[in-house]
Every structure is written in C-alpha cells, then in structure tokens.
C-alpha cells in the first residue's frame, strides 16, 4: 500500500493535538452537562410519577389474566361454527370500521389542508414578522395540545352524537400536529431558490408557491400519510364519547364484559391499521419515486 501521508514526529504533533483538544473540550463539557441534566430529570420523573418496577412485576399476572379471558374458545372440530360465533356481528362491525376509516380520512384531509396553509406562516425563515409567527405557532399549539377526546366531547355536546364531532375533533388536532411538523420541514429547506424567486420580483405567496412548495411536497405527503395512520387509531376510540366509529361497540364490550367481542373488535382494528400501513407505504413510495432524484 502506498503511503500517502508523511506522519509528523510526535513532538511536532503534540501542540496541534493540544490545540484541537482545547477547542473541543468546551463542546464536550456542554454534552456532559446535557447528559447529566437528562439523567437527573429521569430520576426525578420516576420518583414523582411513582414509577415502581416492583408493582409492575408483582401484578404482571393480572394483565395476562385479562388477555387470557378475552381469547375466544376455538375447537378444531367445530372451527367454522366457533369462528362464526366469535365474529357473530361481523357485518355491523365492518360497517362501523368503514365509518372509522372515513372519519380518519376526512379528519386528516381537512386538518392537512389547514396545516398546509398555516405552516408557512409559522416559519422563521419565511416570515419576518414575529407577531404573525407567534400567532400561528400558538394557534397550532392550542390545536394539538387539547386532546382529541376532549374536543370530541365538546362537539358531541354541541352537535349531538354521530361521526361529525369525531371528524371535527380529528381535523383540529391534525391541523396542530401536522402544522408543526410541516413548519419544521419548511425551516429546513434550501434558501437559495427562495432568494432566486424574490430576486425575480415574486410576491410572498408566489415565492412560497414556486420556491418552497416544490421542495417540501414529498415530505408533506409522508407526514400526511403517517398522520392518516395515527388518525385511524384515534378514530377507533372516538366512539368512547359517542363521536362515531367502532369505538362505541368496543367500549360497550369492555364495560359489559363481552370478553370475546373485545378480542374480535381489537383484531379487526389491528388488521385495518396493518392494511392501511401497507397501502400508505405503497402510496408514499410512488410519490417519492415521482418527486425523487433529490
């Protein structure tokens, strides 16, 4: 092997190494302090939150007991009949599951559109006015910090039972959560195209349309599809407060101890989320493939 570097004698290297070490020491000290603070916070949180691993281990048995009790009785010689009995209400549940997915779909779509229009206002690299930026950020924060179920409860009171309160609750939460993620994507863009558009005399909306949007669409799509998946899960518990979907039947089964119904509905939800995950992955790859080469 050819030697490409004349290794300097140690005496000559020592002062250079010392200078480098001195320069990085400060950075190391900062990382060390950060690590120490995080460790102390973990200990404090565990103490105040009364996290007791002992309790978890002592009562782990109870959890498995519940899971054991929701397992249906399936016998090999009468499998067909047992399955039919387990999923005795399949038609109804499938209809509710479809409702759930539609609630998630509409909620994601409406929230996503809101997030799209708001996120640009919350970006430090695009908006110079602190007031607009702060207002947009605080509004998005409000939308995502109030739990979906709380919004759903409020809307059920206002609009009555049914899927609409669920859609609205998901849309608002999605707007807050996606708006934050979208804004972070926008803050990481390459600013050269933005300068190019401004230098060509573009107004703010035109600049965003031509210099920012093309850079962020693929990431927006990924986050949007991920949010759809999350929303399907969220929509499946909207029924707990009467805001539509399969949650209504799930909470009833849990409260009334219809053990095998609980497992039947849970498995349906898990299967639905899996299918959606597979489909959205395909969609995302198509989208990234088209906009790819970056």
């Amino acid at each position: 092997m050819a030697h490409a570097v004349t290794r300097l004698p140690d005496a000559q290297l020592a002062p250079m190494l010392a200078a480098y070490e001195a320069a990085v020491r400060e950075r190391r000290r900062h990382s060390f302090i950060a690590a120490a603070v995080v460790t102390v916070c973990i200990a404090l949180a565990a103490w105040m939150g009364e996290v007791k691993p002992g309790v978890l281990f002592a009562n782990a048995g109870r959890l498995t007991t519940y899971f054991a009790s929701i397992v249906p009785t399936l016998r090999w010689d009468s499998l067909g009949a047992d399955l039919a009995e387990w999923y005795w209400n399949l038609d109804h549940w499938l209809k509710l599951l479809l409702d759930t997915i539609l609630i998630a779909y509409l909620g994601t779509l409406i929230g996503g559109i809101g997030a799209f229009f708001l996120c640009f206002l919350a970006c430090a690299n695009l908006v110079r006015s602190r007031i607009i930026r702060l207002a947009a950020r605080r509004y998005l924060e409000f939308c995502r910090t109030v739990p979906e179920l709380v919004f759903a409860l409020l809307f059920v009171v206002a609009f009555g039972l049914g899927p609409m309160p669920g859609v609205l609750a998901l849309a608002i939460h999605t707007m807050g959560a996606l708006g934050k993620l979208f804004a972070e994507v926008v803050e990481n863009i390459d600013m050269n195209p933005v300068e190019g558009a401004i230098a060509a005399g573009a107004s703010w909306p035109k600049m965003v349309r031509f210099a920012v949007v093309p850079q962020v669409t693929s990431n927006f799509a990924s986050y949007g599809l991920l949010r759809f998946e999350i929303n399907v899960r969220e929509a499946s518990i909207m029924g707990f407060v009467g805001a539509g979907g399969i949650g209504q039947d799930l909470v009833e089964a849990i409260r009334k101890f219809y053990y095998s119904d609980v497992s039947a509905i849970l498995l349906l939800i898990i299967a639905a989320v899996m299918i959606i995950d597979l489909v959205t992955e395909q969609v995302r790859h198509r989208l990234l493939g088209v906009g790819g080469g970056r």
Binding site: M1, A2, A4, V5, L8, D10, M16, Y20, A23, V24
Partner: protein
C-alpha cells in the same frame, strides 16, 4: 496498474459508458476530459464501485475489483479514494473528524462508533491536514470553511485512506481560479511525492494540459482520444467538445478559420 476491460454502464436504454478499454500505469497523472454527460463521472464512480458496471471488468494489480464484495470491497474503496466536486464533507462535524472518516475502513467498529480514534489515526489525520497547511482549522466545523479549504480537507480525508489511487471527479468545478490552482497543485504534489496514481475528471482543457501527463478524451460514453497532452490538437479538441470548444480553451478570439471547423465537428457528432 489499473486495467479496464470492455467497461459498460447502462441507465435504462442509454449507455453512459460503453465498452471502455484503458490501461493506466502506477504513478500516472491522467486527465479524463470531455463535455458534461460524456460519461466521465460514471467511469470514475465505477472504479470506486460507487456504481456497478453493467458489463466489463476493472483489474487493479491483477485483482478483479468488479467481483469484490463485503469487507474486500470496502478495503478497495479505501484504496481508490474519491474526491468530489461538492467535497462531500459532513458539514456539522469538525474538520479533524471529517479527515478521520478516511480511517473508517480500517478502524474497529467500536472505536469508530464511539469516536474514540486511536492515537495513530489521529496523528495521521493531523499530519494529512498539516500537509495542506490547515491543521489550525482542525476543531472548526467543516461547513464554516471556504470552498477551497473544504476541498483541501476532502483531499486530506482521501490521503488518510492511504490510497493507491485517487479518483477526482471534477474537483475544481466549484472553486475560484486561485483555489483551483491550490487544489490542482495539491493533487500534483501527492502524485509526484508519493507516486499515487491520480485520475482526474476535468472540464477545462487548459488545466488538463498543464497538470496531466496523459489525457483520455470521452464523448458519448466512448474513449475517442488517448495520448499525451501535446498530441491533443485543436482539431481533436473540437471533435471532443464541439461548440463548447471555445469555453474550455483559451482560444484566440474566434477567427473565421474556426468557424469552418464547427460545422465539421457537428457533422461528426
């Protein structure tokens, strides 16, 4: 000795490099010239195996490097160091760490992943930086450096790999004239001092003539010229570059005589 036999790379139905045969002796400084899209980059990237050939072989000292995989392939990549047009440093890491990345092929995984480099690795990385008078920048973030400094860091990283061969893909295309000279001088120095073979893609013919002792001209994926810089007549240059010829050479302001040569070149293309 680097031997390339019938090397071809297809992208879809387009051949970026088609049936290239070359023999490059150890210690040569070879300039690969031609207009953009001629297949120069693909050729260099195939030698480092950043891109796999569709067919053909690359042999280094009798060893078929197109057949390598796993650890042997990574060792070959370290041996055939790449230098890129956009430097390809990690901007958020400091300069010395960037140079130490040249030791990744040989450093044990636990040392590399915990950034606890051996004293020897650090000594070599610092020495490589000092060779280009930038040891004082070791602790700075790479993205705080100027383009010329960044390319010198990239060359130091290449040297830290202790390569037998340096593949420079348009190393000066993003640099101003002064830094161009510094970087090309650095490559020449490595070539002459340590006898490392340098393969350098260049767009500018004048630079290629000044620094290289052999030129390989490519057009549409094929080698259309191979010889000493002196043998590259203006006629050949026009064939290579067509209408771009004026941009890559310091021609005396276009005379009518050259006007005749241009349709001829176009007819050849």
């Amino acid at each position: 000795m680097l031997v390339i036999e019938g090397l071809t790379r297809r992208f879809g139905d387009k051949e970026a490099v088609s049936n290239v045969d070359l023999q490059i002796g150890a210690g040569a400084f070879v300039g690969v010239i031609g207009r953009s899209g001629a297949g120069k980059s693909t050729l260099l990237r195939m030698i480092n195996r950043l891109q796999d050939p569709s067919s053909g072989r690359i042999l280094h000292d009798g060893r078929d490097v197109t057949a390598l995989s796993g650890r042997a392939l990574r060792a070959w990549r370290a041996e055939a160091a790449m230098i890129f047009q956009q430097f390809n440093l990690v901007g958020r890491l400091d300069v010395l760490t960037n140079v130490l990345m040249g030791r990744l092929a040989t450093a044990p995984a636990w040392r590399a992943l915990t950034k606890s480099w051996s004293a020897e690795d650090r000594a070599i990385a610092l020495s490589a930086l000092d060779q280009f008078d930038i040891a004082s920048l070791a602790a700075q973030r790479a993205d705080s450096l100027s383009g010329g400094q960044q390319q010198r860091v990239a060359i130091a990283r290449a040297l830290a790999q202790e390569p037998a061969l340096i593949l420079a893909d348009e190393p000066i295309a993003s640099l101003d004239p002064r830094n161009t000279r510094i970087v090309m001088d650095a490559l020449l120095r490595i070539n002459k001092h340590f006898g490392i073979t340098v393969l350098c893609n260049l767009h500018s013919l004048d630079l290629a003539r000044t620094y290289c002792d052999r030129l390989v001209g490519m057009a549409q994926g094929r080698v259309v010229f191979d010889g000493a810089p002196a043998a590259l007549t203006e006629q050949v240059a026009h064939d290579l570059y067509g209408l771009e010829a004026g941009e890559v050479m310091d021609l005396p302001a276009a005379k009518p005589a050259y006007g005749d040569a241009i349709p001829q070149a176009a007819a050849l293309a």
